[in-house]
Structure formats: C-alpha cells, structure tokens
C-alpha cells in the first residue's frame, strides 16, 4: 500500500479529533504537491510494529513509542529517524501533587501514601513520576502504593481521562497524592477539576520531550525530506493550517530531537517496560 503513495503515515486514534487532524494535514500536503495517506491504529504498540514492519512509512509516535521503535529497529540492525515534533513537545515536566491543606511537602513525606497515577503506559502520568519516586528511594508497592488508572491503556497517556481521574481522586480524598503532566496541572485548575490553590506541587521531574514523527525502514528518504520541509514550513498565520495546529496543540513544527528522551529510556529500563530489543516486558500491560 505504501508503494502506491509516497508517504503513508500512522497515527493512534486516541480521540475522534485525530481523524479531522490528519484529514486536514493530508489535504494540505496534497495541495502542496505531496501525496500522503494515513492509517489509524487503536494503540501505539500496533503502530510501532507496523512502522518497523514497513507497513507504514512514518508514525506520529508518543515518546514511549519512539523508545520502543528505536529499540526494535536497533535489534533488527537499522535506525528509525526523528523527523519533526511540535514546539509544545519540548521541555515538558510532570508533577506529583498533594492537597495544599495537608502535611505532605516533599517526596519523602509520601512514604506509606497512596498515589494516583495515569494508565500503566503513560510516560507523563506514570512512568516518569514513578521513576522520580524511585530516585528518591521510594519503592512502589513497598514504600508507596500506586493506584493506576485503567483508562486508555495502549494510548501511552494520550487520553487525558486517566490524569483527570487521578486529580479527582486527590480532591476526593481517596489518595494522598497524584501524578499529572505540568500542562494538565494548569488545565485542571482552570477548568475547576482542581480548585485553584487546593494543591501543592511536592515534586517535579526534570524536563523531557514528548511526541515525535518517526520514519521507519519503508520510507523513501527523498519523500520524507519533502514531508519534513513542508511541515517545518507550515505557518500559524495560514488559515488552512491554524485550525489543525489548534486541534493538535502546537504553534509550529520544529525539527525532531532525541536529546529529550534519556529520562524515559532510563525509566523504561528501570520499570522493565520494554527490554533492550523492544519486546513488551511490563507485567499487566495489555494494550
């Protein structure tokens, strides 16, 4: 199929808007002289396997999907390549929050507490914050108890429902702390899920990067370069592009970089989420 079309892109359908986003980009690419098509996947693991298997040329990958793609590729003797990312994918952080009227003020205070997290495969709301706990000497299920969300497993945390559930559990008093992305801390406060001033950030991860358009072994490199040039040339001032940027949550595409994934690579190893060949090794992970 990819041979009929210069670029076939994969994306995960974590929300209905994904159809509008990639339909819109596809039309824009066509208008600008590059034929593309897209295939939607129900979860990132299936998408990564399609990318590595050459059934799609590029994949709009979560950070965890980038990690697995690169491991699977290396094990097979090739490399996947970073193409572009959103400007808003750079330098994110996750936070562990507690109630502002409580006694918890630092990670050490969490010993013995129950902490709500996102889904098992959410880098921002589970994997990275858990790594933060571990680096502070707190072992999950021994020193702290994790209450993981079961919403959107396989979507690598793209579904915001898991984090909202964690925030509500904190407000409702059924957990002592919650792990969420920095952006969602502001969002939940503004929308009222977390009443303003009701929470305290007791720990924050180092900065990391998020999604990445990744090219696989089937990609025709000249077409991918053309795709990359087109994406980097998209401007927010273009009325045909702006609604798509607003939907996808970016103001500009920027070149993909791999320097922001070191923290997640280490966490994946520590959590035994994937092995070095990209095999899924996480217990209880059924996307």
């Amino acid at each position: 199929m990819s041979r009929d079309c210069p670029v076939v892109l994969g994306a995960v359908a974590y929300d209905a808007k994904v159809v509008n986003i990639w339909e819109g980009f596809r039309a824009w690419f066509h208008q600008n002289g590059l034929a593309t098509d897209f295939i939607l996947f129900s979860n990132y693991e299936r998408q990564v396997e399609a990318l590595i298997g050459g059934r799609i040329d590029v994949a709009w990958n979560s950070p965890l999907a980038w990690v697995r793609s690169s491991r699977l590729a290396r094990a097979l003797g090739f490399e996947v390549k970073p193409i572009v990312m959103r400007d808003t994918d750079r330098d994110l952080a996750s936070v562990i929050i507690a109630r502002a009227d409580g006694l918890l003020r630092s990670v050490d205070d969490l010993r013995g507490c129950t902490i709500a997290t996102g889904a098992i495969d959410s880098p921002q709301a589970t994997i990275l914050p858990v790594q933060l706990l571990k680096s502070a000497g707190l072992i999950p299920d021994l020193d702290v108890y994790l209450r993981r969300s079961s919403i959107g497993i396989g979507l690598h945390g793209d579904h915001i429902g898991g984090e909202r559930e964690a925030a509500r559990a904190l407000v409702g008093g059924s957990v002592e702390a919650a792990c969420i992305a920095d952006g969602n801390h502001l969002l939940f406060a503004q929308e009222g899920t977390l009443p303003a001033g009701s929470t305290r950030v007791i720990a924050e991860t180092p900065l990391y990067d998020h999604c990445m358009l990744t090219s696989g072994p089937a990609a025709d490199w000249s077409s991918i370069e053309r795709l990359s040039d087109l994406m980097l040339g998209m401007e927010y001032s273009d009325p045909a592009v702006r609604p798509l940027f607003d939907l996808e949550g970016l103001t500009a595409w920027v070149p993909g970089r791999t320097s922001g994934f070191g923290q997640l690579e280490a966490a994946v190893d520590s959590e035994l989420f994937y092995d070095e060949k990209g095999t899924i090794t996480a217990v209880d992970y059924r996307p």
Binding site: L92, L186, G197, E235, Y236, S237, A240, R242
Partner: protein
C-alpha cells in the same frame, strides 16, 4: 519591564494581566513576572508554551502566535451591510473582527444585498417587535358567536380558508430564511417576526373556527393548488412579489372586509389584529422590490414573467372556492332576505374591485405603467393570496 501578579496565579486569571501587557509589546521583547503564587513558574512555562511565547524562569519572551492569528483578520462595517457576503464569514456578527479561515457556510446562497435588502427593514423590525400581541390577552374569547348556525358555518368556512392561506404565508419566508447569509441579519430578524406573526394568525383563526364546536369548513383543490405555486417560486424577490405585494396586499382588503361585516366581535377583532401584521409584511415586500428594481430595472421583466407563469400554471383551476365566495356574501348580507343577499353580493363585487385597485397601485409604485399594472393585477390568482 516587570508585571507583578501579587498573590494571584495563572489558574486564577493571572494570565489576563500578563496578556494585557503583552498586547502592548513587540515580538521578542522580554518581561519579568513576579508574584507569590507557589505555582507561578510552573504555570508560566506551561502557559507560555501553549501560546507560542518562551519562558525562562520568571522571564517571558513574547512570541508571534497571537499576531499570526489576527494579522489577516477583516472587519466589515457594523451598520452598513456589504453588497455581498462571503461564505467564509460564517456566523460572525457583522462588524466583528473576523479571523480568516474556518468552515464556510453551506447553502446560504442568498448572499447579495440587492437580492434581499430594504432600507426600512431595521425600522420595520422594531415596529414589529413592539406590535406583537398575545392571543390570550388581545382577544376576549368569551364573547358570544352568532346564534344562526348557517352564519356561523360561513365564518368557519372563511376561517378554514384563512388558515390554509396563513400556512402558506408562514412556509414561504421559512423556506428562504435558511438560505439567507446572516450578514443580512435585519432581514433574518424581520422574516423571523413575520413567521411568528403567521404562526399567531394560524392560531387565532383555528381557535375561532373551533369555538362553537362545529366542524371545520371545506378545503378546495383549486385554492390549495394556487397556494402551492407560492411555495415553488425559488427566487426570493419574485416570491416577495407574489406573496407579499400581490397576495398579502389583496388580503388587506379581505381582512378589512371580514372585520367590517363580521357577525361577532371575536371574528372582527382577530381580522383587525391580523390585518395590522399583514400591512407590515406588504410594506417590507414592496420596499425590497422598490430597492432592487431601482438598481436592476430589468427585474420588472422577470416580475412580469413570474405573474404570467403563475397565471398559466393555474389556468386549468377554478380559482376561489365557491364556498369561500358564498361565505363572504352571507357575512356581507347579514340576513337571508333577497334584498340583503343582493346587497351582500354587490359588496363582494365591490371588494374585488378594491383588491384590484390596491394591486394596481402597488405595482405602479414598482415602476409598472398603468396598463401593465392593470394587466398584471388581472392575472393575479382568483384565490386572492
């Protein structure tokens, strides 16, 4: 430069204070944010990222996203509508600053001022709003009807006829309203009120018909066929001519006649109230056609054809139902003596003459010669509407 947020956070509206200052700054300029909210730095980074600014600790460097969004935005006049409206303006309020892009309106093909407008529309709308009446308040429904069943049946027959005519008068503007570009909001507003007027007329004529508990009258094929041709006219201006200027114009005489000869106070009152509304509809239709014909005199030829075409399509029908004509005579006669019936008959003849004169007068205002107006008036449906 420094912005002091004091104790307020970005989760409590602090971004509004920052945004107000950023509006006065140029891309690349820096501003320091101070404040005691414990999440200030965290939220500043998140907020800046999502809005295309850059945050360095508590320093904010202005980006160009906001400018990019509004750079090509356009603003039309708030008061004067444009000569044509673009589908991409969508549902934006006239006079608002319109961000470019977005889904275009689909199916709103009435998007040229000349095809819709009348300068009097805003004033007529204001008048219409203040003249709305509540059927429960404006009419005393407890007043008696005429004791003679035959007279009451004549009233019921007329009400039956009026209901089907008002249904047509409601559906015609309703059919067009969904095709009008909302840039011409005054026309939408006026037609909406007009539709509400017709809804009320349908209500009061129905209530009057049923008040004595006797069954409704007859609905003839010819009358229905005539009304149906109004629904088939696809051109807004020509539909205005057929419905408002000729049809509702003729109805002004009819409603006055029924009011004058009504055998009971309820019938007289509802015809009086309906006539006031109809007069407004006629004024609007006439004003629109005057406006258009002034700029596009060739419209007269199309108006001519529309009247002739409607006449042709109704040639095989008999026109006004005999039941309706007879009912008008009975009302005008007031009793069953031969001399009263003769007098009633002659009054209905007189009514038709008045209707013809009214139509000719209005057509002359649209620039038709006396002969042309007389010819067109003679072709108007015998069903009145």
């Amino acid at each position: 430069m420094t912005i002091d947020l004091d104790t307020i956070g970005l989760d409590q509206g602090g971004h509004l204070i920052i945004g107000r200052v950023l509006n006065q700054m140029h891309e690349g300029e820096r501003v320091r944010i101070t404040g005691s909210d414990p999440h200030l730095e965290l939220h500043l980074r998140v907020w800046a990222r999502s809005r295309g600014h850059k945050a360095e600790g508590r320093w904010l460097i202005k980006g160009n996203v906001e400018k990019s969004r509004w750079n090509d935005a356009i603003r039309t006049s708030t008061e004067e509508p444009e000569s044509s409206a673009d589908a991409t303006w969508g549902l934006s309020a006239r006079g608002s600053l319109m961000e470019t892009g977005g889904p275009p309106l689909v199916g709103h093909d009435l998007d040229e001022k000349i095809g819709l407008w009348a300068d009097i529309a805003p004033r007529l709308y204001a008048q219409a709003v203040s003249a709305q009446w509540d059927p429960n308040e404006a009419i005393d429904w407890t007043l008696p009807t005429h004791p003679d069943h035959e007279v009451e049946d004549a009233v019921i027959q007329l009400m039956t006829y009026l209901i089907e005519n008002e249904q047509a008068a409601l559906l015609v503007p309703a059919k067009f309203i969904g095709r009008i570009h909302p840039h011409y909001r005054e026309i939408l507003q006026l037609l909406a009120i007009q539709i509400a007027d017709e809804a009320r007329h349908i209500e009061v004529f129905t209530r009057r018909a049923r008040i004595s508990g006797r069954p409704l009258g007859r609905s003839g094929v010819a009358g229905r066929a005539s009304l149906q041709t109004l629904l088939e006219e696809p051109d807004y201006s020509l539909a205005s001519l057929l419905l408002s200027v000729l049809g509702e114009g003729t109805f002004l005489n009819l409603l006055s006649f029924i009011q004058r000869h009504a055998p009971d106070a309820i019938t007289a009152r509802i015809c009086e109230l309906a006539r006031r509304d109809e007069a407004r509809h006629v004024t609007f239709g006439l004003a629109h056609l005057e406006y258009r014909v002034q700029q596009e005199p060739s419209l007269r030829t199309r108006m001519f054809s529309a009247v002739e075409q409607r006449h042709e399509s109704l040639r095989s029908t008999s026109g006004l139902s005999g039941d309706v004509f007879d009912a008008l005579v009975i009302l005008a006669a007031g009793e069953w003596t031969p001399s009263a019936v003769r007098s009633g008959w002659s009054l209905v003849q007189e009514l038709q003459k008045e209707m013809d004169e009214g139509r000719r007068r209005r057509l002359t205002r649209l620039g038709f010669s006396g002969n042309e107006a007389a010819h067109l008036s003679s072709l108007h449906t015998r069903n009145f509407m």
